[in-house]
Symmetry: C2
DNA sequence: CAGTGTGAAGCGCTTCACAGCT
DNA sequence: AGCTGTGAAGCGCTTCACACTG
């Protein structure tokens, strides 16, 4: 994988959008696309698309555009989703269970390797066909599946402990769906999803009509 | 509400974090806090906290710090969550149902005014004690509850139609939990949550250890 | 003094504009 | 001619540094 310099986080986030756009264009049989066209679908500026894609080398043909299949494959490589990635989910409450049942993961290259919880009520039960495992099994499942990603979907108060356990088990990329921040060593990357926070921002937008998001 | 100029979106997002920090500090009975302390808990720079809070006017006392209860109340006002906001949820599948059952909304000032779906299998059933309503009831529920916020949790293909219906019903702030982008008139604010996208970004981080998020 | 409020510097992302391929 | 790739300008957010104040 020819990888040059450091890519802005914002660019990586757009990569995921471009990937979705190209997947769709490929599905309808389109062979090439201009930066203009990709930009249109992704909802960004065309120069932005060109600059972003240029991080991957010179993928386009001048006077022609980009080869859909080509760029698609390339972005999959850059994002590391050419082959299936194993993910563990911690927390089998409402949200954890919903995520386990979410078909979109599989379609986009993520396989759920295990679902964990520490509540005796839940351990042993099944969600969407998968047995809920005790946290004591975490390390062996992570290793057995070479899982590198984890989703934390537990109550706020339990999140820090879960993150610690994940780090201990060798996970270094974590998606935290619990509200509130958690601490982790520097080499661990944590991203947050907080639905309530999003609602609060939208609520702000209500008063501030001059606000554009 | 003394509101001056345009606030950067990044600042609004941090407001939600400060609010959480202050709520917690208030809960443990702390009366004042310095920008340093707030910054520590929120995981940002102290100067950032001061600059952000200065958008609300001069809330702090020099040589002392900020009055916790004061700033807390002020931020609630700025975010428009001093009093309960009604939210409608569209889509009663895995994720929509999980959100309806999520206690965190209520605690932070959001009340679910109605859950909708267009599947005859689901209409009339209950999720977490609430009856699933047909989309035909949307407009009257929105009006009856003066709902201004909506969460869309339907399959990607159905999202655009749902958004159109919401706009038609008078909603202008939408949280889209469905993958993919949707179009809406300029005055409508849409924010997106896409768990798979977050996983893709994390997957990128796996290869790029020089990447900091 | 301790800690806020803020102009100014710093920095990184976005957009422009155009040279350079095909 | 058409469209990419990219240096440079533009712009907005973050951080610094310090005047100012209780």
């Amino acid at each position: 994988m020819p990888w040059h310099y450091d890519v802005p986080e914002a660019t990586v986030e757009r990569f995921t959008r471009y990937l979705a756009v190209l997947r769709e264009l490929g599905r309808v049989g389109q062979e090439t696309a201009s930066s203009e066209e990709i930009a249109e679908h992704a909802g960004v500026n065309a120069a932005q698309v060109r600059k972003d894609l240029s991080y991957c080398g010179e993928l386009g043909k001048r006077g022609v555009g980009y080869t859909v299949a080509d760029v698609h494959r390339h972005l999959e490589g850059v994002l590391g989703v050419e082959e299936e990635q194993s993910v563990v989910v911690i927390g089998a409450g409402n949200i954890g269970s919903a995520l386990v049942g979410y078909a979109g993961f599989r379609e986009r290259g993520f396989r759920i390797a295990g679902v964990f919880d520490n509540s005796p009520d839940r351990i042993g039960r099944r969600v969407h066909g998968r047995e809920i495992l005790p946290m004591t099994r975490l390390q062996s499942v992570v290793r057995g599946n070479r899982a590198q990603l984890a989703i934390v979907a537990v109550p706020a108060g339990a999140a820090q402990g879960v993150v610690d356990a994940l780090v201990e088990a060798g996970i270094c990329c974590i998606l935290n769906v619990a509200p509130g921040r958690v601490k982790a060593p520097h080499h661990v990357v944590i991203r947050h999803i907080d639905t309530t926070t999003e609602l609060e921002v939208l609520s702000f937008c209500l008063k501030e009509s001059g606000f554009k998001a």
